[in-house]
């Protein structure tokens, strides 16, 4: 793992090559090497016991702070996302959950004036290390946004292929990769006969699954979902939730949600945030039935938020 990490950190390698070599090996390594052999302090008993064909990577936040200009929105969060688990982040509006998640794949810094402090470890690699290519980080950590946003100028096929093409990996069996991604997102049967139609012509739920397929196509180890169902109806939401349960076999999932029932349905672990701070994190059942912090209890029982 460490050697893979250093491959990735080598700054003088041409970015595209580095991304292909580095991430390919990082993605493969965990399947042959159980996580307990790594120098990982008491982090994930759960992830060690999951399926042997594990592909996701753990993400660990250490003292993460996020700023917009000088205003601090995330105020020092330490939080572990175990590999191949679904972790839900709940909390009232404006508590910094989206901001925190956007720090994981370094999308936060795309906002003018915004910056982050602290460490985000993808497995062993600090994604904020100065030698790390931000583009490679985002290829390993996919993201699904609140509003379905397929590229309006592209067909269904091109939307799914876009991640590969945009990162110069559109060669090889593009059609096969697109089909795999669409099947992975549970959309293949619905669109296989109209791949050349515009992606924007699909229904909202289908568009969101198209966006999930788009991020799956680049074969990430982690997928961040920022309220992926908030613009969808209950049936489309159910489909996405079923999909999440399937996807965690292959990737680590972090899902921000306003919907506590959703967190209870899909998440292995749940984290509760309040005013930029992590209040409590634990197995989902514990958070909803026997939270250790009174503020968590008040929030999950609907007393505020």
């Amino acid at each position: 793992m460490t050697s893979d990490g250093s491959t990735l950190k080598t700054a003088d390698v041409e970015p595209d090559d580095r991304a292909e070599v580095g991430w390919h090996e990082t993605g493969q390594a965990p399947s042959t090497e159980p996580s307990q052999t790594k120098p990982q302090p008491a982090a994930s008993p759960a992830s060690a016991s999951t399926a042997p064909a594990k592909q996701g990577l753990s993400v660990r936040l250490q003292g993460l702070k996020a700023f917009y200009g000088s205003s601090e929105q995330v105020k020092g969060v330490d939080l572990d996302f175990h590999a191949n688990e679904v972790t839900a982040i709940i909390g009232p509006s404006g508590c910094g959950k989206s901001t925190m998640v956007r720090c994981i794949n370094r999308m936060h810094e795309e906002i003018p004036g915004a910056h982050a402090e602290g460490r985000v470890l993808l497995d062993e690699l600090d994604v904020y290390d100065s030698a790390v290519d931000v583009v490679a980080v985002r290829r390993a950590i996919g993201m699904v946004f609140q509003k379905p946003n397929p590229f309006p100028t592209m067909s269904i096929f091109d939307n799914v292929a876009s991640g590969l093409r945009l990162s110069s990996r559109g060669r090889g069996d593009l059609h096969g990769k697109v089909e795999t991604a669409l099947r992975g997102a549970g959309l293949w049967d619905e669109v296989s006969d109209r791949l050349s139609e515009p992606g924007a012509g699909l229904s909202g739920g289908q568009q969101q699954r198209l966006c999930i397929a788009r991020s799956l196509a680049v074969d990430p180890e982690v997928i961040l979902m920022d309220e992926p169902c908030s613009a969808l109806d209950p049936i489309a939401t159910l489909k996405i939730e079923e999909l999440i349960a399937e996807l965690k076999q292959r990737v680590t999932i972090v899902i921000v949600t306003h919907n506590m029932q959703q967190a209870a349905r899909v998440a292995d672990r749940t984290a509760f945030m309040l005013s930029g701070k992590l209040v409590e994190v634990g197995p989902t059942e514990d958070i909803f039935t026997k939270p250790s912090d009174s503020r968590t209890e008040e929030y999950v029982t609907g007393k505020f938020g």
Partner: protein, 299 residues
């Protein structure tokens, strides 16, 4: 239920539009309509006059022969406007090749990189100033720098340079407005897929902005194609068709300008024909560009 309500007459009267408001609404609508009609009148008259005066001069000869320069006698053959049409196409094409890539490049930089930095705002300010500069000044600038300054003669490419300076601010501002309309969510989702920024711009932002940009670019091309002043002392004019942009070059606006001042009726009529030709050319360009833009949306 109905027994609980007050008498229907009272209830409904509250919802009637008062006569005063109805009157005000009518007056306001009338004024707006009058403004629209007023604005349309000159437009309709221009089109009418162009067709009325211009169409009668059109003939095969009109488009296939160069002007002869024999304009003093009504009986002499004055020739057509071939060299002017081709000259305008050549000069404007070169001006477009220069100003469109640069202009779109500046707009992309302003929107994607410069954003609201002081330098970007300075650039925006000067682009705005440039938009307001009278077109003859661009001609003068090129005249002083490239003709007086170098001691050389008039040339088609110097006219192109003057026109490209004129087009540049129009292209920049219109492209910037369109690029600003592209939702940030599109850029974000492409970046989150692990696309380098330049790929996001080339593969996502520019294709999405293309139809809107075509409109702005066409405005600039149309404006440049109709300008006389920047060409008068840069490309000058000549009678012969010319494919060498290093030589004097005829153009439609300059041809119209010199024809309109002629005492000979046939020559003045040729100006109308040339003006109609210019309008039709720009209209065709508009249609073609729109077709291309529409087709490439889902290529």
């Amino acid at each position: 239920m109905s027994t609980q309500r007050p008498t229907p007459a009272v209830q409904l009267a509250r919802f009637n539009v008062s006569p005063a408001r109805r009157r005000k609404d009518r007056i306001a609508r009338g004024l707006i309509l009058a403004a629209t009609v007023l604005a349309l009148i000159p437009l309709a008259l221009i089109v009418y006059y162009l067709l009325h005066k211009g169409l009668s001069t059109w003939s095969v000869n009109f488009f296939t022969t160069d002007p002869t320069g024999n304009t003093f006698f009504g009986s002499s053959n004055i020739g057509g406007i071939k060299s002017a049409i081709l000259g305008t196409i050549e000069i404007v094409a070169l001006a477009s090749v220069i100003s469109i890539p640069i202009g779109i490049g500046v707009a992309v930089w302003l929107v994607e990189y410069g954003r609201s930095s002081w330098f970007a705002n300075t650039v925006r300010f000067f682009v705005d100033v440039l938009t307001g500069v009278p077109s003859i000044l661009f001609g003068l600038f090129i005249y002083i720098v490239l003709i007086v300054g170098t001691g050389s003669s008039y040339a088609g490419y110097k006219g192109s340079l003057a026109l490209s300076l004129l087009m540049l601010p129009v292209v920049i501002r219109s492209a910037e407005v369109v690029l600003l309309l592209i939702p940030g969510a599109l850029r974000e989702s492409a970046l989150a897929l692990g696309a380098p920024r330049w790929r996001v711009i080339f593969s996502i932002v520019l294709p999405t902005a293309l139809p809107g940009m075509v409109t702005g670019v066409l405005l600039a091309v149309a404006r440049a194609a109709g300008e006389t002043a920047p060409l008068l002392f840069t490309a000058a004019s000549t009678h012969e068709t010319n494919f060498n942009l290093g030589q004097f070059m005829n153009s439609l606006p300059v041809q119209i300008y010199s024809d309109v001042t002629s005492p000979t009726t046939a020559v003045v009529n040729r100006a109308w024909g040339a003006a109609l030709t210019l309008v039709v050319m720009i209209l065709l360009l508009n249609l073609i560009a729109r077709l291309i833009a529409r087709r490439s949306r889902l290529a």
